[in-house]
Amino acid sequence: MREQLELLPAYLTGHLQLTLVALLVGAAVSVPLGIWITRRKSLEPAVLGAASLIQTIPSLALLAIMVPTLAALGVLTERAFGFELRGIGFAPAIVALTLYSVLPILRNTVTGIKGVDPALVEAARGVGMTARQQLLRVELPLAMPVIVAGLRTSAVWVVGTATLSTPVGAESLGNFIFSGLQTRNQSAVLMGCLAAGSLALLLDGLILAVESGIRRRRRGLAALALALLAALYAYTAASFVAERRGSARVVAIGSKAFTEQYILSRMLAERIAAGTGLATRAVESLGSTVVFDALAGGDVDLYVDYSGTIWATIMKRDQLPEDRARVLEEVTGHLREEYGISVVGSLGFENTYALGMRASQARELGIRSISDLARHAAQLEIGGDYEFFQRGEWKALQRAYGLEFGAERSMDPALMYEAVASGGVDVISAFSTDGRIAGYEIVLLEDDLAVIPPYDAIVMASPQLPSELPQVVRALQPLLGAIDAPAMQRMNLAVDSGQSSPSEVAREFLARLDAARAEGGAGADPPAPDGYTPPQ
């Protein structure tokens, strides 16, 4: 809980930035647009239709679409104006959230203005107002309660939806929820929900207070609420300035959204802090392609990926690799040549896709390998994480073993293990280092035809990091080859069972590692660069 409270200011600030900017831009676009279409009635169906269409796109998808869209736009803006639009982080989130905020404000602006008594509009003309004065002095003031109601709806929606901007790399209260769900940390999930809920209520209340204070001529109330809103905006602006001016180089460490990744990212952070004294920043819970793009683009400096993942999803190879070392070599070469990304080294363990099932059922059916499983597959159901059934490994498995399951279900990776343990499904696409495999008495089936590529955990560095901060790369050397699969499983289990937080597990491991080095280490062994030279 204390760890969550320490994270709260940063996440809340991120959330405020997203929400307040999206609402401001959304209102600045929607109100004039709404006014305009009440003046050009023929445009109303098209504009309102387009806004409704955006609203029907699931918010998570809208956010995800913005990543490649902005990346593509970024290429254009760089060519045309010399600056690159960032494909991940704040920019895609703010664009998606702004689009999301439009409909309620737009629709209520139109409804509000159309709802003004025509007799009053005629009276406004009759007393000698110009078209502009009619709008500003009569139509808008009378439509204001309806417009503000739209703004309030928008505020609540945007606060809620902003929690989904975590996977595109924008820090928000959603970080609590995403990492909490993955690491079974209910207090983190609760913290994220409560904070987001309170923020939504606060904004809703403040906007209402400003509007009703003005309408009911209670100046004190309106002024107080306005001052609070202004303070929130001022704080947000100041936080932007502080971020931009934070000229001291901060090392950004990315992670995907599962327990092992949280632990490893904290471990990298601890090592860097201890070895270089540089400040680090966690960019957590990113989508698996988002984090790779972020590394290639330099938005993230380091993260841990798996050789097989790069092999299958980045290099799009599906033929079977000859051996572990060969895959690693080809991956390293490919990353350097195509993306300028350098592989710092392997951590020492593999986290491979493996098919797992209840130990009891495997015994009953006499299944030990995937070849055994293929004979029973038609009577069994398989559960996989969201991407598994689209991945090359799955297709390769199906082809090689002739696997045809009775049913395939996609589910959250955090729930898969429980699903197989409780009999909800019979087989899952397990991750071999997951601590819950032992906890739930799940057996992993042997890949007897060697179809699944090796998944060595490798630390990858952005193109600029090795030359810019070689000391960071040096500081990570002690971790290379230092973590074996059982150690990783234990750490994962410690987090997943709710015993420890990812930071605690990472710190304990490093402490033990240091102790072991000091004991068995040949005395004056400096954190040697192991012959490492940054690529030029």
Partner: protein
């Protein structure tokens, strides 16, 4: 049906409002057909007729709330098309059928709206608002800050009149201003209005379908039917020499009503005697 009727009475300063062969069409429908009228300085001309006869359309063409399809409208000797529409309207007071007070503004702000649009200095606006509220018998200290929804119908209509008079217009247009009021309030407001108008020397065009109101207030009455001018003249002229059956029937309505009342009294009286 040629228009019948004489020259404006007491037209010492010439015509302040002049409509010359004014026509207004809505698609194929002719709402006002080749209408010509003059209103002299200080005169109140009533536009009288049934629903849909074109009297409100005619009124709105004077301050260009409705633009004529053909013909010319002159105000104070100048073609209304020479003005920007909003500038023309600021010089002409208008009292709306539905009153049309702005509900989000106070009584004082409603009255002050046109003077403020004209850019009067704040002090002058404030003095004028108080003066007018007193004139319409609403104590400024009590009513200045009230909202329209805190007023009775009669009070609202008085504020509507104050708003129309606020910018010291030469001309005021009134669209059935007393239509929605109870008879006692209406009677009182009519007499008060006539007195104020005469004091200020305001020229007025007044739309009504109420024959009694027309006779009571009009210096002259113009009777419209289906967008055409049927007859224009003083109440006495119209009563004495109606130009058509329509006018004759209209003019007869107050007397018919009076006779109906007499009959009621007689039957009641005889019942009482027997």
């Amino acid at each position: 049906m040629a228009p019948v009727g004489g020259n404006p009475r007491g037209a010492s300063g010439g015509s302040v409002i002049e409509l010359v062969h004014v026509t207004r069409r809505y698609g194929d429908v002719v709402a006002v057909d080749e209408l010509s009228l003059e209103v002299a300085r200080g005169e109140l001309l009533v536009l009288l007729g049934g629903s849909g006869c074109g009297k409100t359309t005619t009124l709105k063409m004077v301050n260009r709330l409705v633009e004529p399809s053909a013909g010319r409208v002159m105000v104070a000797g100048r073609d209304t098309r020479d003005f920007e529409a909003h500038e023309l309207r600021r010089r002409i007071g208008y009292v709306f059928q539905q009153v049309g007070l702005f509900p989000h503004l106070s009584v004082a702000q409603n009255v002050a709206v046109t003077p403020e649009l004209l850019g009067w200095p704040t002090e002058r606006v404030r003095a004028r608002v108080d003066q007018l509220l007193e004139l319409v018998e609403l104590d400024p200290s009590q009513f200045r800050e009230r909202r329209p929804d805190q007023l009775s119908g009669g009070q609202q209509q008085r504020v509507g009149l104050a708003r129309a008079f606020a910018a010291e217009p030469e001309v005021v247009l009134l669209d059935e201003p007393f239509g929605a009021l109870d008879p006692l309030t209406r009677d009182r407001l009519q007499r008060w209005f006539q007195q104020v108008r005469r004091e200020l020397g305001i020229t007025a065009l007044f739309v009504t379908h109420d024959m009694v109101e027309a006779l009571a207030l009009g210096d002259r009455i113009a009777v419209l039917d289906a967008g055409r001018l049927v007859q224009v003249g003083s109440p006495a002229e119209l009563l004495r020499a109606p130009a058509s059956l329509v006018v004759a029937e209209l003019m007869d309505t107050p007397r018919r009503q009076a006779r109906a009342i007499d009959r009621l009294l007689e039957s009641d009286g005889s019942a009482g005697r027997s």
